[in-house]
Each structure stands twice: as structure tokens, then as C-alpha cells.
Amino acid sequence: MPPESLIEAVMVNDIASRAGQRTRKNGGTRLVRREALAGYLFISPWLVGFVIFFIGPTLTSFGLSLTRFAIVTPPVWVGLDNYRYALASDPLVWTALRVTTIYSVAHVALALLCSFLLALLLNQPIRALSVFRVVYYLPVLVPAAASAIMWLWAFNPEFGLINSGLSYLGITGPLWLAHTQWALPTLIIVSLWGVGGPMLIYLAGFQGIPTALYEAASIDGANAWARFVNITIPMMTPVLFFNLVLGVVNSFQVFTTVYLMTQGGPGYATLVFVLYLYQKAFQSYQMGYASALAWILFVIIFLLTLLVVRSSDSWVYYEGRLRGR
């Protein structure tokens, strides 16, 4: 930026700041009010959409959660009964929570690890790097329905590719999705098919680490492991944090793969929370109860996200921020 532009910018900033102070002190000048109005008008399409399509349905769903509502018949006020029934009397809610928690813990941990290691490999100066990056990202672009059908075929216990392969090694493969003990682990394995997404974010993070840090460390005698532990990992913690938050939020809302591959079975072994919510809403037509389940899930995800965010102070390193601030 040329010096004169810089001075101009500082002056404009100063004027705006003073104008802001005057506004706060005197209730606002005409100019500031008009500019504020113009600003609100500019963002009003988004605001109107946000209120109508997000805030409105959100508040409506909370209202519905306090009723017994079967779409066609008028809602009947039941107070907190839906919440009480869900948490105290409906065993499937706890089944769904247990299944979802196991899925989330395993999926998030494995996905973070696999995508991190994959990104690390794809950050190396090797031949045909772009091809590898595209290949590993490609599954993210495959529609969930198509990949679900492919995995169903692969995990078929009798004719599937995986058990056929295992049989060549003399191993009798399990029933995978058809067995209550194996169905959830199978879905977790399938979920790793989509690690290309976080991998790409890690890759961008790796490439954002200044090479000067590595050079300085090398000059100081740090070996590869020391550089990885003391430079790469700390510098990547903001990206790790981002992927962790997204992973937790998304994994607790897993639906499509489970819906397409197991429908929650066998014997509710893969009944994830959102699938149960869906069944209550669109198979049992219990919209009030389903709304209550949605709010329970919202609270769970909110608390978990809060926990992750709060914990970030102790393990996420931001280059421009001092420790303890």
C-alpha cells in the first residue's frame, strides 16, 4: 500500500472512530444513521431469509416439541412430556445416544488421524503428487447413495469383495453389516472413505507453515522427529481444532450412510440418533416428539462443541497470540 493511501486509510479510520464516538455520545449524526440504514438494507435479504427460514423454524420446532403433533391433526399441548418420555421412558433414545457416541468417538479419532497422516504423506515432494491428491479427495465427490451401494456390495458376507479376499487368505470373514457386533464397526470403516475432506484442510495447513521455521530448526540441529513434534504439530493445532469441531458436529448428525446401508439394524445395532429422529418424524408421524429429540441433540452437540472450544486454550497454538491471553 502506498504511503499516501496508508495515511488516507488511517485518517478515514480516525474519522469513522470519532463519528462512532459522537454517535454513541449524542445519539448519532444523520450521516451515520443513514449509513447504518443503508447497511441494514444491504444485508436485509440475508436477514429476512435468516429470520424466516432459520429462526422461525427453529422456534417453531421448540414450540412443537412441547406438543403432541401428528402433522394433520392439530397440536396438543403436553408441556415437557416429550422430553420426559425421551429421557426417562424411551429405551431407544439411550440406545441411539450410545450408538451415536461410539460412532462419533471412533469416527472422529480415526478420521482425524487418517486424514492427518494422509495429508502428511501428500505433502511430501513425490512424483505425480497431484494425481494422488485427486485420487484421495475423489471419494468426497462421490454421492453418498452410490458409495453406500458400493460398500453394501463390498461387505456382502457371502459374495462381497472383502470376504472373498479374506477367504483367499484362509480367513472366514464376519457377517459385517448383518451382525449386531460388526455392523457399527463396519459403518465406522465406511465413514473413513470420506477422509479426503479434512485431509485437504490439513494439506492447506501444512503448506501454510513457514519453511523458515524448519530451516532455523535444522540449523539448530533438530532432527526430523523433533521438527515434526515441535514445529509441525503445534503449527497444525488450529487446523486440528477446526477439523475436530466439524468432526464432532457432523458425526453426531450422521444419517445418510446409516439410512442407506442398515436402516439402524440389525437389532438397533446401528440406530444413530438422527435416524431415530427421522423414524419418529416420518414413519410414526410424531412430529412433536421428533422435535423434542432434535432439541436434545442440539443441546448435546452444543455442550460438546463448547467443551472442545473451551479446551482449545490449553492445546491450540495460534502464531499471533501469546500464551495465557
Binding site: 443503508a38 435479504p45 402433522i71 391433526t73 472373498s164 448383518a178 451382525h179 439394524g265 410414526s284
Partner: protein
């Protein structure tokens, strides 16, 4: 020339943008026109094959009590719905269909053209919607006061819809029009009757049958069974037709239709058992030795005699019967066109085998319901009658078994000269049955299927799994809101 300042320009742009977006959003939230409404074909180019002699003998014309001025002129005929036309043009009838492939869409188009030709004074529009979430969307439209007048209705939607007051009872129209029920298969009326009322006319039958690959029979030197074959015959033949092992194994039998509401239910009935009590509000099968014996028989074909693949083996696989890896498949007649395409002259269609208590093949159909919100009841009934009980059945026989017996035994059978379907149709007529539907059918089927899952994988014994399924189904019934009891 007046100039506009940059600030004024931006302000005006923002104002216009905000106003435009707000009005668009408000318009979108307001009264919506019918979704993807397409005008009914005005000039029928392919009129339905008129076969009035094969139509039912319901000769009286509709005489709607509510709007006598719109009553069609009395024109006694052997194809009443095709020829009787209301005297005066009336409000538009909206007909909602689902899109289920080109062949069915073409048949629905022809039905629309046929109706328009028969009732030139009735204005109507066809709305073809995706099948996915069809019933949920229909409920939403109903609440919003924007529901169509006539709609596709599946069996598992019909009772929930009727229980919620969405549908119009068609029994008064049937009585009024003196429709002779003897002309129809019993299921045309019984499968859509709930609490003594009639909630929808017939689309086409999807009767349960056994499909056989004649080439595999010939190869094994096994003769096709006679129409009165039994479950013992089925097991014995299936053993003869099962060969090999591992991924290349050929199975004698596949329960392709083994859902709780079809194949399993048929087996249970053939064994003399029951799933629900008469009122349809309690599962009783785990307390019924005959029901347990039926399901045990089915499981034994998979794990004991190993003549049938387990459900998990067929998951995600191309159809084993069409792939010629299964010699006999139990399934609905709606799969017949696929099988003819796959096996050609090697296909044979067999009756369902008889059990200790008899033979009760599943036979039912989707339906055409009239929504209770309609303002044009009489015209809507005319449409539902035409397509479900009248001349529309002459067109629909290209897709499935028509509900009118004369059409089924006549032009329907004539389409398949190489398939001996006569005994199969006779079996439907004599013994065909449908399964009990409740206001929460989807929910309890899902609960039962979940609980039976570990039985199919061999993790649980049949009695234990059926007990779990019974408890799960009864838990669903216990949650049924009182307003859904009808």
C-alpha cells in the same frame, strides 16, 4: 442531465434489492400453486383400448347427492366409468400421481387421456410427484389447504391417512353407484376397507407368486410342480436345485419378498398362525406356536437345509434369480416384467405352495384415494372410479393385474401366452389375502424388522427374536396417540 451520486445509487440498489428479496420470500411463503402441475392431455392420441364387454357390470351412473346439478346423465353401459360424463363443467380436479418409471408414467398418461375422453366436461390437472416422501408432502399440503383432490395412496399410508381424517370414505359412492363387487377380486374392496369404510380404489394387483427358472429345472432333471404343490414339495425341489458351494453356489430358493407384511405373513398364515390380534392393536405371534413354526421353517431353509440364501447374503447384490443363481424366487407379480426381460422363455410362474392350514397368497395394490378436503367430491370420485374400478383398469393391465376379474382372465392373461398364469390368478381369487394395516404400520414393521435382524444372522433363536419383535411391536402400539384409533 441530472447525475446520481455513488452513495444514492448504492442506497437505491440496496433498497430495491431488499424489497425484491423480501417480496420474493414472502411470496414463496404464501399460497403456493400446485407443485409441478401439468395440464391433462387435452387431445387423447392413444385412446384406451375400449373393451366395454370386459368391464364390470356396474351400470348405474353416479348420482352425487351433494351436487345433483353436476350429476352425469344416466347412460347405462357395460363400462360405466368410461362413458358417463357429468352434465356441466365444474371446478378443476387435481390428480396427484407418483413417478415410478417411464412405463408406469406412460400408463398413467393413457389413463388421463382416457378419462378426459370419457369425461370431456371435467377439467383436471395431473401432478406427477417424486415417490420419495410422497405421503409426508401430501400431509403437509392437506394441512395447508392445498392438497390435491385425488391421490395415489399406498396401503401403509391409507390407514394412517384415514385415521387422521385426510381421506374421503368412498363407500357411499360405491353403494350409490350400485357397483357390483362380484365383478372384482375381493381385495379390490377389502384391502382398502378400514373401520367399515372404503378409502381408495384399485391401482393394480401385486399378487405374491413363485417364479421358476425352467432352464435350471431342466438341467437338474426336476419337473415344474403342479398348482397344488405344498411347502414340503417346495423344500424337496429346492434341495434338488441347490448345487455347488461358496460364491458360485446355486440356490434352489430365494425369499425375495420376505418382508414382514408379505412373504413372512403368508407363511405364517399358511401354517395357521397369526401376527396381530383381530383388533390390530396387539402382536401375538410369539405366543403362537404355529407362527413360530412358520418362521422357523423359513430360517431352516437358510441355515439347516441351506437351500436359500440369508437376507444378508442378498444385500447389495444384483437379483440372484435374474442372475440365474437361484432356481425359484418368491416375489410379487410386479417384478414379472423384469423377470421376463431377464429370463425370457425360461421363466415360469407358479402358485404359492400350500401349507398345513391352507394357501393364502398376499395380494394387494396401491390405490387412488379422494382427499377429504376436496371441493369437487363427485368429479373426484368419477376420476377415482374410472381409474380404479372402471375403464382405467383396461389400461393399467399393462402394468399389473387389474382388479376386474374379466379383464384379469381376459386381456391381462393374453399378454403372456407362454406363462401359465391362469392357476396363479385363480389362486389369488380363491385364497388371496392382504395383511392387516394399522395407523402405525410403518413404525411397527420397522420395529419388528429390527428385532428380527439378529434372527436372520443366526445370532438369536427364532422364538427369542419373535418374542423381542412382539415386545417391540407392542411398545409401538402402546405409544399410538388416541386420535389415530379412528
Amino acid at each position: 442531465m441530472s447525475s446520481t451520486s455513488r452513495r444514492t445509487f448504492l442506497r437505491l440498489t440496496a433498497l430495491l434489492g431488499a424489497a425484491g428479496c423480501s417480496s420474493a420470500i414472502l411470496a414463496a411463503c404464501g399460497a403456493t400453486p400446485p407443485p409441478t402441475a401439468t395440464a391433462a392431455p387435452a387431445a387423447p392420441t392413444t385412446a384406451p383400448a375400449a373393451a366395454p364387454t370386459q368391464a364390470p357390470a356396474a351400470t348405474s351412473t353416479p348420482a352425487p347427492a351433494a351436487a345433483p346439478t353436476q350429476a352425469p346423465a344416466a347412460t347405462p353401459t357395460s363400462a360405466p366409468a368410461a362413458t358417463a360424463a357429468p352434465a356441466a363443467p365444474s371446478a378443476e380436479v387435481r390428480w396427484a400421481q407418483s413417478s415410478l418409471g417411464e412405463a408406469r408414467d406412460a400408463v398413467q398418461d393413457q389413463m388421463a387421456q382416457g378419462f378426459q375422453k370419457a369425461f370431456p366436461n371435467v377439467k383436471f390437472t395431473v401432478e406427477r410427484r417424486p415417490y420419495d416422501q410422497y405421503f409426508v408432502k401430501l400431509q403437509t399440503e392437506f394441512v395447508a389447504g392445498a392438497a390435491p383432490d385425488v391421490s395415489l395412496m399406498e396401503r401403509n399410508w391409507s390407514v394412517p391417512g384415514a385415521a387422521r381424517g385426510m381421506l374421503l370414505d368412498l363407500m357411499p359412492f360405491v353403494t350409490q353407484d350400485k357397483i357390483n363387487r362380484d365383478d372384482y377380486f375381493a381385495e379390490v374392496f377389502s384391502s382398502y376397507t378400514w373401520h367399515g369404510k372404503y378409502w381408495g380404489t384399485y391401482l393394480y394387483g401385486i399378487g405374491e407368486a413363485y417364479f421358476a427358472n425352467k432352464a435350471l429345472f431342466d438341467k437338474a432333471g426336476v419337473k415344474l410342480p403342479a398348482a397344488n404343490w405344498t411347502l414340503e414339495d417346495l423344500l424337496s425341489i429346492s434341495k434338488s436345485l441347490t448345487t455347488g458351494d461358496g460364491p458360485g453356489k446355486q440356490y434352489g430358493l430365494d425369499f425375495g419378498y420376505n418382508a414382514i407384511w408379505a412373504g413372512d405373513a403368508t407363511l405364517i398364515r399358511n401354517f395357521g398362525g397369526k401376527i396381530l390380534n383381530e383388533q390390530g392393536d396387539k402382536a401375538i405371534w410369539a405366543d403362537d406356536p404355529k407362527s413360530i413354526a412358520a418362521i422357523q421353517w423359513m430360517v431352516d431353509t437358510m441355515y439347516k437345509s441351506k437351500v436359500a440364501p440369508t437376507p444378508q447374503s442378498t444385500q447389495g447384490q444384483p437379483n440372484l434369480f435374474i442372475s440365474k443363481r437361484v432356481a425359484i424366487e418368491e416375489n410379487g407379480s410386479f417384478t414379472m416384467s423384469q423377470k421376463i426381460a431377464g429370463l425370457k422363455d425360461d421363466l415360469a410362474v407358479l402358485t404359492t405352495p400350500t401349507g398345513a392350514a391352507g394357501n393364502f397368497p398376499f395380494n394387494a395394490s396401491s390405490s387412488w384415494a379422494v382427499l377429504s378436503s376436496t371441493k369437487v367430491k363427485d368429479q373426484a370420485w368419477e376420476l377415482a372410479k374410472y381409474i380404479g374400478l372402471g375403464a382405467g383398469q383396461e389400461i393399467v393391465l399393462k402394468m399389473g393385474i387389474p382388479g376386474i376379474k374379466k379383464l384379469a382372465y381376459g386381456p391381462y392373461l393374453q399378454q403372456f401366452p407362454n406363462l401359465n398364469l391362469q392357476p396363479v390368478l385363480e389362486n389369488f381369487e380363491k385364497h388371496g389375502t392382504y395383511y392387516v394395516f394399522t395407523p402405525d404400520s410403518d413404525a411397527w414393521w420397522n420395529a419388528a424388522s429390527q428385532a428380527l435382524g439378529p434372527m436372520w444372522s443366526g445370532e438369536k433363536s427364532v422364538p427369542d427374536a419373535m418374542r423381542a419383535a412382539q415386545d417391540a411391536v407392542n411398545a409401538v402400539f402402546a405409544q399410538r396417540p388416541p386420535e389415530l384409533n379412528g
